[in-house]
Amino acid sequence: MKASYTWLKDFVDINSTPEEIASKLTLAGSEVETIDVMGSDLDRVVVGEIESAEKHSKSDKLSVCQVNVRDKTLQIVCGAPNVKEKAKVPVALIGSILPDSTKIEKANLKGIDSFGMICSESELGIGEDSQGIMILDGKFSVGENLSKALDLEDFVFNLDLTPNRPDCLSILGVARELSALLGAKLKKPKPKVREGETLASTQVKVKIEEPSFCPRYTCRIIRGVRIGSSPFWLRRRLQACGVRSINNIVDVTNYVMLELGHPLHAFDYDLFSQPEVVVRKAKQKEKFVTLDGVKRELDSDILLITDGKRSVAVAGIMGGLESEVKEKTKNILLESAYFNPGMIRRGRLKLGISSESSHRFERGVDPNNVDFACDRAAELINDLAGGEVLKGIVDNYPKKIRAQKIDLRTRRVNQILGTKLSTSEISKILKSLEFKIKKDKNLKVEVPTFRPDVTREIDLIEEVARIYGYDRIETRMQASGNLVTPMPEEEKLTMKVRGILGGLGLYEVVTNDLVDPKKMGQVFPEKRLVKIKNPLSEELSVLRTSLLLNLLSVLSHNKKRKEEQVRIFEIGKVFSERGKKLPVERNKIGIALSGNNEPIFWNKKSQIDFFYIKGLLESFFESLSVDSYILIPNSYPYFSKDRSYDIKVRSEKLGFLGEVNEKILDFLDIKDKVFFTEMDFDKLLPLFSEDKFYKALPKYPPVDRDIAVVLDDGILAGEVEKFIKETGGEILEKIILFDLYKGDQIPSGKKSLAYSLRYRSKQKTLTDEDVNKVHVKIIEVLKKELGADLRG
């Protein structure tokens, strides 16, 4: 909504600057986003009088004019068709810069010097007329600055209004706010309609078939109007508020809508097939051509204005093409009605159109302002287009919408706001907004019908707060209430996991939950996709079911930017559909690694491999004090067949780990090996505990023994360790594999594993004999169970 400063001044006395006004409106809820300054750019444009105009000897189109600008007479060559002697015109003097950045300089047109320019409205940026030069009708003194003469200087407030305030969608409404904020009186217009003898009610009947959707319909008939263009002052105001000028009749309806906030519609009454207005619901699939020339299909959610036979407008949203006021229109039916806001909203959503009119009706106009707006428009039409306004207003208002009365407790106001306002202060504020105080002690407040947003006591409290000023409410900084608040385990674990992974040198990323179903299908096939009905694009139309695609995409993005080493993780949600209930949402930890396994170092370089990510996982669990986990081979479509595992802790599957296979890497155009793991955060949660208890440090010294065995290559190290552990029993404290060897000195098909074993007892210092007993047993078991030979 745009509001002109000079227009506002018609309704309220303002002594403050536009900036002060903007700030006051903004703080009270009508946010002024920007202020446009108008007319200030025309400081070197003056009123001139054409003393003579002669044809240019070398051109039919050009005229050579002598123009009096008071202190001198300028010779100006002009190409406009409507140049005439004695006309007063705007003259841009040499040195002026027009709004379109044209700089006026001395010129020579086909051999004749020209000292300035006679301008059209469009060249001055004050209107749309570019057909010819602007002719200034009326009393103008030659030489006067044009901005002053035409009162062009203005400030336009661009208001960003909240949807609850339809009343502010008008100059009068904004003026009302200002009058309350400034403590100045509101001066409402008082239309005086000069009516003819003929009764309008004999010329038209109004029938409302759907009074719940159209609670009130009024109209006036104006006969014998002359269609023409509107006077400059009116066009100027429309322009300031961003509305195009069409003709004097349409312009008046728009002007009154801007001024009073009530949308009106003017029909060419001669195009009615009978003297009747019928307001009815559209039929299913009924067709109608709107003003914009589009043929639309309607349904019963849409209300129509008809003449009983043919439709003439979609009520409150857009008029019809056929009944539009045109150049030859003589007789007018001026509609001013009140339509149900919900109905208008449903209708315009279905039709996919929004108009200044529907914008206001949808938010709720004042049903009791309908006749007033109609009179104001009739008065202006009569002023500008002549004709005869028939006697009386035809008003169909079956059930009057009455102002609501609400009790307001002073105590409650102060309880909510933390203020100490008195009843009289409160009542003064409300009166300034044209609320009526029916009872002075225990306030009973009558809410004007232009404020459909105020229906409850709390709404009145907000009104009091707005006008009193939020800035005057105390800022209370003492805390009260419970001081003991638990931190949820999820939050604690999130912090912990982030800390661990960051500490292990990983970068945290955050990625969009919305992904491309095609890519998701390629990378992480999953049937139970949650699909968005109205996505931004097909590429962002489903919720992710894994972090895999997202992390690979980030990886690919960075690899393409020459980042050799990419080590990233994300903690985020994945989603899967389960019928009509809300989808399952699970928090996941995803890790993707590729490139070097450490910062580039001058004496070696090694790529991330399977054991690197496995090691990372081991460190991760160690930091979380999760003691035992195992990898179990499983076949996942996105991993290489022989590098694809489940992660299990205490027989619960926590997630999966593996090397992303070539097919997927090719699909995402990634050249290097990528290792990935995803773990279920929610399953990790019960394994995580901040309760830690001290265990006494060992009192007795350890005994270290090495053991190297040669066995079949096919035997897994895990099996060897398992037997060592089982056999070693209580006194075996630690097993470390320190060498794996294949090659010379070892038969082919065999390998050598070398372990360092640490023995320690809790009860005593172990003797060699104690250790030997166990150590020999271990060697025997390995021999017997795995066919291992002791390596010499």
Binding site: E31, I416, E462, T485, P488, G505, V510, V530, K531
Partner: protein, 340 residues
């Protein structure tokens, strides 16, 4: 003579500094020959002395000699250090200037950094952290929060729908309802999380962003408390000098409602390009919880009152880190992440 002494003193400083910075013997040798060599700078200063009258020459000569011997001492000291270091005490050269072996260092994403900072501040003020689902029902996202059917308030947030009843939450406010349904007041809650808006993606807006919702319901909670808690929060986040401005606004689930501006964190309120020369930045939507919301969950609005506020973390991070394109957060370019 004064000038000569001054230049000698300057020379002393200069050479001392160069000796300090030298890290190899060859460097040191070069410095030595430039300054202390037979044709070096110091030697030429000595020549200037001869132009002085007898008495002054003696005094200046004494000072010059002092400087000379001091510098020689420094050179030989440094020479010793460098020898030890260069040779590592062995025959083989130990090149300690080779790059060190770094440990890997990770980074946290700027959005989660700011988010946890916000959580910590509110936690310290007695707020409890609660989460809610990203996929919500119409009921929790709109109906229970007093968004009337067929009302333009529903246009305030462009919504991604899954079907008639389910949608991606457009704000974290549904968590209010989920909490109120489960427990009785008092409740002082902070609900961080992702929210979704069906808006075109550009430098200023992205279809997903982080939001944090805070609310407090108890007896006698007033708008003055809301003003206080937000001022305390922003002072903890941006420093003591930050000022707040409350403007009247509209949200269906609060009444009275407010938009909260903070004084521009860049220019301090004087006006700059970030605040579009207004001096203020719009960062929070807030208000007193609407009685209709209380009614929907069975709280008695005559007994309890409460405030609620919500803020976009992405937007705040833009301001805090002076980032001009919101998409950078979601692109995860390592060159970007490395800066935080």
């Amino acid at each position: 003579m004064g000038e000569l002494l001054k230049s000698l003193e300057g020379l002393r400083k200069e050479v001392k500094e160069k000796i300090d910075k030298a890290f190899s013997s060859s460097q040191l040798e070069k410095i030595k020959s430039v300054y202390l060599g037979r044709k070096g700078v110091l030697a030429s200063s000595f020549k200037d002395l001869s132009a002085l009258p007898e008495e002054k020459r003696r005094e200046a000569g004494r000072i010059a000699n002092e400087i000379k011997s001091e510098l020689h001492k420094l050179f030989s000291q440094k020479q010793e250090y460098l020898k030890i270091s260069d040779r590592g005490g062995k025959e083989e050269i130990f090149d300690y200037t080779l790059p060190g072996k770094k440990n890997l260092s990770g980074r946290f994403h700027p959005l989660t950094q700011l988010s946890s900072q916000i959580v910590e501040i509110f936690y310290g003020m007695g707020f409890e952290v609660v989460y809610g689902p990203d996929v919500e029902t119409n009921y929790y996202n709109f109906d229970a929060l007093n968004f009337p059917q067929d009302h333009p308030a529903r246009d305030m947030m462009d919504t991604f729908y899954i079907d008639e009843k389910r949608l991606l939450r457009t704000h974290t406010s549904p968590v209010q309802i989920r909490v109120f349904e489960k427990r009785k007041p008092p409740a002082r809650i902070l609900a961080p999380g992702r929210v979704y808006r069906n808006e075109a993606i550009n430098a200023r807006s992205y279809c997903v962003f982080y939001q944090v919702e805070g609310f407090y319901v108890d007896r006698d909670v007033t708008m003055a408390d809301l003003k206080g808690v937000l001022l305390a929060f922003f002072q903890k986040l941006f420093g003591k000098d930050v000022r707040l401005r409350f403007r009247a606004s509209f949200f269906p689930f609060t009444e009275p409602s407010a938009e909260v501006d903070i004084s521009c964190v860049i220019c301090g309120g004087k006006g700059c390009s970030v605040c579009k020369h207004r001096g203020w930045l719009e960062v929070v939507g807030a208000g007193m919880i609407d009685p209709e919301v209380f009614r929907a969950v069975g709280y008695d609005p005559e007994v309890y009152s409460g405030y609620a506020f919500g803020m976009g973390i992405d937007r705040m991070a833009l301001l805090k880190y002076r980032i001009d394109d919101i998409r950078l957060f979601w692109e995860n370019d390592l060159r970007f992440l490395r800066q935080f």
